[in-house]
Point group: C2
Chain length 338, copies 2
């Protein structure tokens, strides 16, 4: 049932080392030999044993996905993207959700690494935005790839996939301005997250570029949750200067804002425009459907995983950086200012 490398070697009439070479796509195996081996491999349905490879060799055959994010859509997209890259490259994926605030994160990750050899880690915010943390991981002698917010990589520590939240935020805000809005509210995610910082920066820049003064009363701290959107919108709509539009920092907040508007009898988009961010499936399922910015999480994650695997393979110090700018998607939740 379970063929070993020995069985293949015998059947192909070569040494196990040669089979090993073929399985690892090493050069310096004659084509003829390679064919013989592959034939035996197919005949026997042979799969190299991962445990043995890990134990005997120096290469790693797995990567891990580290995250702390309650957003199911985000996590699934990321995971699927990473899995796609893994599948293509024959890597295994270890899933590792953990609490960023916990004292034990590093310990946990260390344990994981000691237990299973891992080529590297895919880090998403907030982990990717903690330089000391990243450095400590690298000191553990594993590669890292970071997915993070910004228009340029902050350092040379690792390959990065940068999401240009600033630019995307400018287009969303500009879209609202183009619709005639002058009082635009902003409901942020966790203030410590770079994505919030960057989106806020884009918001402010768009306003400034259009000669609209920034009113701090229209800027609300939140967290990336529905409830936060409900509260934020309620608060904004009871300001002296009621905004005519709200830029919510993600789709969940936007959905919460929508909910609050309904609660207060405010019609969308007639009396109030609401924009989200992320283009989660969610944003197509609210009423009205959300104007948002498309953040292609799956692609981003697949990219990240590919960069990580490539780096771990080549052992180059060269840290590539990929860039994404979420694109505006106009739907029904934003309209002309009256």
């Amino acid at each position: 049932m379970k063929a070993t490398i020995n069985d293949v070697a015998k059947l192909a009439g070569v040494s196990i080392k040669t089979v090993s070479r073929v399985m690892n796509n090493e050069t310096s195996v004659r084509q003829l030999t390679r064919d013989k081996v592959m034939e035996a491999v197919n005949e026997l349905n042979y799969q190299p044993n991962l445990a043995a490879r890990n134990l005997a060799g120096t290469k790693a055959y797995s990567i891990a996905f580290i995250y702390d994010n309650p957003n199911a859509y985000y996590v699934i997209d990321m995971q699927n993207g990473i899995l796609a890259a893994c599948k293509q490259q024959g890597f295994e994926l270890l899933i590792h959700p953990c609490q960023a605030k916990s004292e034990h994160v590093l310990e946990e990750i260390g344990d994981m690494i000691r237990k299973s050899r891992v080529a590297g880690l895919v880090l998403t915010p907030p982990f990717s935005e903690m330089p000391e943390f990243v450095q400590k991981i690298i000191d553990l002698d594993v590669d890292v790839v970071r997915i993070m917010s910004g228009d340029v990589a902050p350092d040379e520590l690792s390959p990065c996939v940068m999401v240009n939240d600033h630019a995307a935020s400018v287009s969303i805000t500009q879209h609202l301005i183009d619709l005639g809005h002058k009082h635009i509210g902003f409901i942020g995610g966790e203030a410590a997250h770079m994505s919030t910082v960057e989106r806020l920066r884009g918001y402010k820049q768009a306003l400034t570029d259009n000669g609209i003064s920034i009113d701090e009363r229209l800027i609300i701290d939140g967290e990336y949750s529905f409830e936060s959107g409900v509260h934020g919108a309620k608060q904004l709509m009871s300001e002296d200067v009621r905004p005519t539009a709200i830029f919510s920092c993600n789709d969940e907040i936007a959905a919460g804002s929508l909910f609050a508007a309904r609660l207060m009898g405010i019609s969308i988009p007639e009396q109030l425009s609401i924009a989200g961010f992320e283009n989660s499936p969610f944003s197509r399922q609210t009423w009205p459907r959300l104007t948002t910015a498309n953040q292609p999480n799956q692609k981003i994650a697949e990219d990240a995983a590919s960069l990580l695997i490539a780096k771990s393979r080549k052992q180059t110090a060269n840290n590539s950086v990929n860039y994404y700018t979420p694109q505006l998607i106009v739907r029904d939740s934003t309209g002309k200012s009256h």
Copy 2:
């Protein structure tokens, strides 16, 4: 940095075999010895190497999660539940999404098993509902645990976690009937899924029990998606006999129904009551919030994983079965019939 069993043995002044015994919680190690070993383990921060364990031993230290489900909330909940059980039992989790319709599923799973030793698989629908498939997996010599719909386990093939969709469906339907509804629409998920079959059965039984005749025009096939809910509701609302309530087979379908109602200018719950199923976070974020049945996916999955691990440990033929009945949660999308 990376301590091996040898280092621990040396430091503790015992043989590696004794360390191994301690690490595996075997009996017949004196308490004194055990303490010495544990002290060394802590001192050195030792973690047994998974690859070596897998290679040397006969026990497995991982399970796999097999699924084919586009519902992000469902998958994440399941995964978190399984991870919780794994963490507690020191198991690793392999994530394996795949296409149920694909010819290659079995092959893929076979490859995975040959590659990584796996104690067993957690199967969710539709896989868990394919008896021949399950049998073939078991023939591959891996344990299986099935999460499935029904009020009693269909066979003795494996431990099961049964979700009593029938009973839950009766309570939802009864709730609608109690509100005075006589024309109740039903929008199903994929007709082949037992959950749809069971929920439909519950729906029909509740109607029958209350002396309401079953009108097949009010029963719509769908799939578990938002779009399907939109279409289904549109169709139902253009029947000769307009239903005054719709039981949607899951929250996504319900959200779609809500959306369709908005599109058609039908107010919820005044003109139409809509109920969902699953209690995904989603159901709290629609307007109005959905009446639904709480299906505790995370618990269910944790249970399933625990059963699987227990079975693989004890090597008993004894297949336990756990039962869950989703409970009605009344929110704002259902109201009195007028």
